[in-house]
């Protein structure tokens, strides 16, 4: 008698639905998870206090982007990004104090400026000055 009643009391925790619950939560977290992988080109803005130091003209390389997307490097029109980077790279080899000025028209597309900036990063140019042409 005793043995029989003991056997009856023994019960299992139902775990057949455990996997279902786990998968439900799993799917919830998978759907809500957003992996953060933003990428970008880093720049350091000049501080307000920093005075504008005069740079000799021979150390400057001016790149001008107008509102139509035409690019002028040292007042010569250049269209291909590769020719621009080749030109700047050759000037960089001649002069290690070279500073590149990217002057962009306010109505130019951001994309154009960024692609030039990217080219400058690619050839290892660190000294880049961003300017804007506000004149109409």
């Amino acid at each position: 008698m005793l043995r029989k009643s003991r056997l009856k009391v023994q019960e299992d925790i139902p775990d057949s639905s455990m996997a279902d619950i786990a998968f439900l939560l799993l799917i919830f977290f998978m759907v809500t998870t957003g992996f953060f992988n933003d990428k970008g080109l880093s720049i350091m803005l000049p501080g307000e206090a920093q005075g504008s130091a005069k740079i000799p003209k021979q150390n400057l390389c001016k790149i001008f982007i107008n509102s139509a997307g035409n690019i002028y490097v040292d007042d010569q029109p250049m269209q291909e990004l590769t020719t621009i980077s080749n030109y700047v790279e050759s000037r960089m080899k001649e002069n290690d104090k070279l500073v590149v000025i990217i002057k962009t028209d306010v109505n130019a597309r951001y994309e154009w400026m960024l692609s030039i900036f990217d080219e400058m990063k690619k050839i290892g140019m660190k000294k880049i000055s961003l300017q804007v042409n506000k004149k109409r």
Binding site: D15, M18, A19, A22, F23, L25, L26, F29, M30, T32, T33, G34, F35, F36, N37, D38, K39, G40, L41, S42, I43, M44, L45, P46, G47, E48, I65, T104, D105, V106, N107, A108, R109, Y110, E111, W112, M113, L114, S115, F117, D118, K121, K122, L130, V132, K134
Partner: protein, 140 residues
């Protein structure tokens, strides 16, 4: 008949499901640990392409969104350009001056809008800036 039935019973194999819950929980824990709920879902825009990009850290990051019309959004709210420096002042304080600002601008945005944001950032002293871009698919 009886013999055949017996044979069928012995061949009856089951897929072991006992470890299923363990596997599910393992994946669950992984996703729970890696989940960071998005606070800033952003606005609809197309980032420009670039090749020489660096990966960004989420720490101390503020994102300034600029859409194709040059409108600025911070934390899912459009803000007037003049308020950007105020908001960045606050963020600079919150991050103890170690703020990194990511500018996510649409590729067709006017450069003038991006420059105006630069000026606002300069005014609040947030000088570490990253220009958000997507990786060029061909050039890698």
């Amino acid at each position: 008949m009886a013999v055949i039935k017996r044979k069928k019973k012995s061949a009856d194999a089951k897929i072991p499901t006992a470890s299923m819950a363990d596997i599910a929980f393992l994946l669950l824990v992984f996703f729970m640990v890696t989940t960071v709920f998005k606070v800033d879902s952003g606005i609809d825009l197309q980032l420009p392409l670039a090749e020489k990009v660096e990966k960004l850290q989420r720490k101390n990051l503020a994102i300034v969104w600029i859409n194709d019309q040059g409108k600025v959004a911070i934390e899912d709210k459009f803000v007037p350009m003049e308020f950007v420096s105020n908001l960045m002042d606050q963020k600079m304080f919150e991050t103890n001056g170690e703020l990194i600002v990511e500018i996510k601008a649409d590729k067709t945005a006017r450069y003038g809008a991006v420059d105006a944001v630069f000026e606002e950032l300069k005014a609040s002293g947030a000088l570490r800036v990253v220009l958000g871009a997507n990786v060029e698919s061909g050039g890698r």
